[in-house]
Subunit: 319 residues, 6 copies
């Protein structure tokens, strides 16, 4: 390890004076003078770090990666081998934008090997960009994205899915608990006669609150996400009355994904549960019954704020 | 006019002693002894009336019609030329059912020329069977049916429809009155952003009652009718959240037809309004919000009973 | 035969003084006083003819038919057994319209057995209504209609169709004559390469006129007919560039039906050819290249007028 | 009853000398001289029977029916009121075909009220034409047809169908007997894994014969019938591997209808069972495993012959 | 800067004697002896340039790129980081093709970061390959391609598109000028009646030339491009009569993209306008009316030649 | 060349003592101490090889590639430039799996430039991964994969396909030999009449074995492969009775691909032929007739074992 507290391979070129303690920089790497690099990082062979770059602590940069001007990697970020950033949305040789597009990779996110990150994007906390993905839009916290262009395919920690909700909901009308505190999944009654099918619910059976509002979500493009927030005191009961939608519920400690694909499946989301809706089919119509009128102040839209509210010892607004 | 107060063409064969005053029976008609025929009827050439037949007052029977054992035509019925009844659902020569199927054509109904009425059906009050129709199912009161097999295409007096509900509902969120007492049509809020569409309602805005129950109707074969009843004290709020459905509302005096074809259109049916749902598209899902738990006693299923309840001076159960 | 030159069966009731020579009226028929009936008609058993009726010469009315007030049957009309007319579009017993709907069956038309004709329609010259059809719209000259409701399925004399035009057009680019004077059917060049298909025509090859106008017909409901006219001096070249359409061409003596179902099939219609387009598929787009700008005076819209123009010895406007 | 052993209403016109004993002819009926009518018939009011007509014994002809030249009604036929025959496929007034189309209604068939029978057709033994149907094609023995144009909707005696075969086949792999002698219905094994679904059978389990031939039936237009024959010695095992098809099996005494709509449902048809396949969906593919190579002599194509072979005491070819 | 006029980082290995003035070669780069590199290039860290390579002036090669034998990069090309070329279409270890596939990146083109270019392709002038794209076919001049496999999504400089042409064409029938010299966009008359829609044009209104030829383009695979040429003297009038197609018009100075998606939108392309058709929907049918018969000599198929012809001072062939 | 029999560029860092003779290691490459590298390899500039790595003989590793712990490259493997491996399926900075995922690239396989290989996969013998592909699943022997995610598009050596099987099967019913020993392709009889299509086969004509079992494969997701095995003694006869499927047959020496897309095409696979089924359409239903009951011991599931069995001189189990 060098005198200044970090390790530098003998073939590495480290021109920056600002490298944190315990950081290791390996063979044929090249760090330009303006770069600021935190402590305990691991910067592998054949990497290149330009000047206007901020790298946090405990960041891993695997071989063959370049970190260009305008890029920030927060603490604990992982960048896989040959993953490629860029900072000019329409590059022409010899033409430079007035200001390079800025890319922000947030705390704990990982970028898979050979992934491509287009300029100007934000990769959310603990998000996971799959190997080989081409990321063309912002990635939400905890989301897992793959493909070209990259689409959300899941959420970190939400558990593996059985093929359909039918296997996780009771076969007969009734409710079952879930891994997420307070969240219950319901099989609703299903009456069939020659004139068609009918399903229903009543207050108390099984809807555990007075319904003060309903809303319908429909016409959602499949690549989009709805929801992605929690409520301070609102109960919701979700039924996908046509088509199919995935819902992720998260109490801050546990996370679980549900497929709603029948008018006979209902999901109760109590207050202080973070909810995400995604993978809507084109024809999906989501019915939400809610326990209170619309109140923007009810929404918690920042995941970090939500985590604060639900951590043990926090004053629970819902009580 | 014959001595007994009705007219008989010289070539007509009238074997029944029971023909009302003012009734006219024309050339080559043949009335068997058991038939009972009311007053002021018009029974045209080449008709045939069997024995176990009851015909009310002011009935018209055009040429070429036979009225078989088991058939009742109530007052003011019109039967077009060559319209054909039957009283045996699976006729074989020389085999007679123990009891002939009974056909009931109710007060004021009309049957178009050359229509065919299968055995055992009831044609409701003031219904209209189109010329050439083949009627294979009961026809509700006031319904207009055509085709082979006959399907409901409208309701007498419910007004002509504009092509879609968009032209009859407010363009902006809000409510409008209708021709039917107490029924309101609502344009619900529609919020569109890049992630999709959203529509919603709240108790009081515009849902004018506490919601105690919801039900969903889906998978209805297009030829079927749902509804066709009133409630003594129940409020309902209808939204066709997918596909399209027609609703006819009737307060006993006025009748109006609505096309629900958008999640942003709601229809409030208060108590003591007769409601009919029909013309469901295959993919239609109807959401009904209701003001009380399910109670079979709430239903008024006979139109005649309904009319009694809503006539001026009746004790209104809903108050 | 009776003294007044027509035959009356002994059981028939003929109250009209206006029956033409050679007409026969059969058993149990009943003719009211106001009816006017031409010569050489055949009016069969169990028929009924009301007062405000005009029946031409050589008309056949088979058993069980009634001809109501307001109906005109021109010369040479055939009415099959039990075929049923009506004259009130919304009949209610005891209620009579101010004026009965008028029905006109034109010269040489035939109505099949047990067909139903709704009130107020015109059945065109030599049209053929199939047995059991329920006619709800006017029927054009020579059209053959069947079903409930009745739709056009062909044209009298236009010949049987091979399954598709491919079998009637040349396999290689080129033209062939047709049964209709001056009309030619063309296989247009078809060039295929990896980038797609291309077809073309040039003035003189094979389009036999200078193009002064084009028009496109599209979005035609399948039950509708376009065309049904001739032009005095206009040449047209028809290509169904998407979907499929049938064209009937008629020079007054010969008639032929063509299926246009490929961008590589063209049909040249010269002046003084009666053309009918029908059986449009929903997605059909018809391109017509024309030899002159639009001129309403160019159109011959009455078939009778057309026949006058093309009969031998007529001054041919197209020359 | 008249001296010649049949009853004639006083207003009836009976010009034929050839009417069987016990036959009754009612008011305003008209029988032309050439008609030959069997014994114990019932010919109702306002009927008309032309000359070149043969009517068997025990035939019922209800009011308003005409029986034209060229029509034969075999024994025990029923013709409902206002049912309409015709004998000229393209009638024009005053033009008569060289020979009238011949219509044959076979023993025991029934024609519902107001039905229309186009010229030149055969209605098979014990077939049933529904009221108001318009029959445009031959009707097979025992078939029930309705609609305009008429289509087969069932077979007399084949029993009412549950909504799908799932309810009539075992839920678990296995076999069940049926009402038809020797015919068994099988639920085949169904293996599902991530790679897809698999179903199978083996000789002996459950296929009760050595397979010597297979054939596939596909691309059947929905209005068509396949099968309609029996085999002298051939076993068949039917599986509808895609889409859906109905099969009627008949041992001469009992008849049953099956819906094959899954690759996991098989039907064993032993020798000397009359089989009918119909109601193919467009995408249906029927797999038939057979116990012998193709042999045209194996087929019994006439139902009458089949009945002879299976009647008690007949030498059973299959043994 | 080294004595020979270019800069070489001290860790770079430059074995070629043929490097232009002002070119900079950075850390850990490796240039083999046979490579020829122009002036003012920028060749970044960790790059590798083989022998049979020609690189023009002002070329940028970002980090991690290899330029293999057989590759030519013309002047002003940009190659993003980790972009990957190849020169063997089916590589097997130790097996070398007789001659390596040749790749040509033409003047001013850009290749985004981490893009993959398959062997043997040409990337046209000023084309833009998006980051992460996998290019499997030639890229036309100015085209923008993205995805795996890469498809054309636009053309550089053709302007952003409104969602449909309706917003860029006049609402009423009429014409509007465009950014491209001589090109006009037309809203054609649209006549709607119950029988369908009709649109038309006439010589002079608005078609500004005599029509001597038409051609139809159809059945184009969506990934294909038609057109991509100019004409010396030919006028064309384009109507997409079914489906949808994009057209880019370019007068050498300005470029604009049009969406043709209605039979009522026409586009006039005069001589000496470069036209590109792409994004054909599967069902698109393009009608082109042209002012002269087909003449291969009319076509200008090289964009460079086109630019010569339209540059100020050039003899304009169209006059 | 260095003393120890392999070449090392002066800038390369070779820390491993285990490098085979004739291997060349180029500029800026870095080989860690634990790596074991065979003879005659070519390891290009800017590569990195970790410790727990085994590389066979004659392997090519192009520039910019890293070979991580847990990866084995067998003899004759080719790895294109910037191709990227990984060994952690869900990487987080600073968190290491207990054991790295192991990747195995088998003998003779090639990996195209810039391809991405997800952790833990096996790339089969002589497989070909296309440039830019992202491989997320195991790749079978000889398969060619492209895209993101990568899908099989063909098999090395199986021959180019004509567009459909129609061109490779006899037009008339009958059989033809193929390039693969013992495999025959059959055009089965196709009988068409108005009622539909029929195709069939018999034991001996053309099915060359007694059928003891059938199975049906259906509902296969298009990305899946079925089959990929040989049988010791089992004959199979394959017919794709709905939809379409590709079958590759391989006798160890020759390989051929067949498109089964009609119920009239059959493929006989005798014992000891390696068979692969892939490219199922969604609606495909594959019927397989087999010569024996199900016996797991019949299957040869390892291609290497298969090759042993079919090599000349091997005892052929099928005799």
């Amino acid at each position: 390890m060098a005198d200044d507290g970090f390790f530098k391979h003998e073939t590495a070129l480290v021109e920056s004076p600002s490298v944190g303690a315990g950081t290791r920089i390996w063979a044929f790497a090249h760090i330009l003078p303006g770069a600021r690099i935190g402590a305990a990082c691991n910067i592998c062979d054949h990497t290149f770090v330009e000047n206007d770059v901020r790298i946090g602590d405990r960041v891993t940069i695997k071989c063959g990666v370049q970190v260009w001007d305008g890029i920030t990697l927060e603490d604990d970020v992982f960048v896989g081998p040959n993953a490629t950033f860029s900072n000019d949305p329409f590059p022409r040789s010899g033409q430079h934008p007035e200001r390079y597009a800025r890319t922000l990779v947030k705390r704990g996110a990982s970028i898979g090997g050979n992934a491509t990150i287009l300029p100007g994007l934000t990769i959310g906390e603990r998000a996971m960009v799959g190997a080989g993905a081409v990321v063309t839009r912002d990635v939400p916290p905890m989301a897992i994205v793959t493909g070209n262009p990259a689409r959300i395919v899941g959420y970190d920690g939400a558990g593996s899915l059985s093929t359909d909700a039918a296997s996780t909901t009771p076969a007969e009308a009734g409710a079952c608990a879930t891994r997420v505190a307070g969240v219950t999944l319901h099989r609703l009654p299903h009456v069939y006669d020659l004139r068609g099918n009918l399903s229903f619910g009543e207050i108390g059976n099984p809807i555990p609150f007075e319904v003060k509002r309903y809303f319908l979500v429909f016409g959602v493009a499949s690549k989009e996400i709805r929801g992605e927030h929690a409520h301070r005191a609102l109960h919701q009961f979700l039924i996908c009355v046509h088509g199919r939608c995935h819902v992720v519920a998260d109490d801050g400690s546990n996370r679980q994904e549900f497929v709603l694909d029948s008018p006979t499946i209902g999901l109760h989301l109590p207050p202080l549960v973070w909810g995400i809706q995604y993978k809507y089919t084109e024809d999906a119509v989501m019915l939400v019954l809610a326990s209170a009128p619309y109140d923007p102040a009810s929404y918690i839209r920042e995941y970090a704020e939500f985590l604060e509210l639900v951590k043990p010892g926090a004053a629970n607004l819902a009580t």
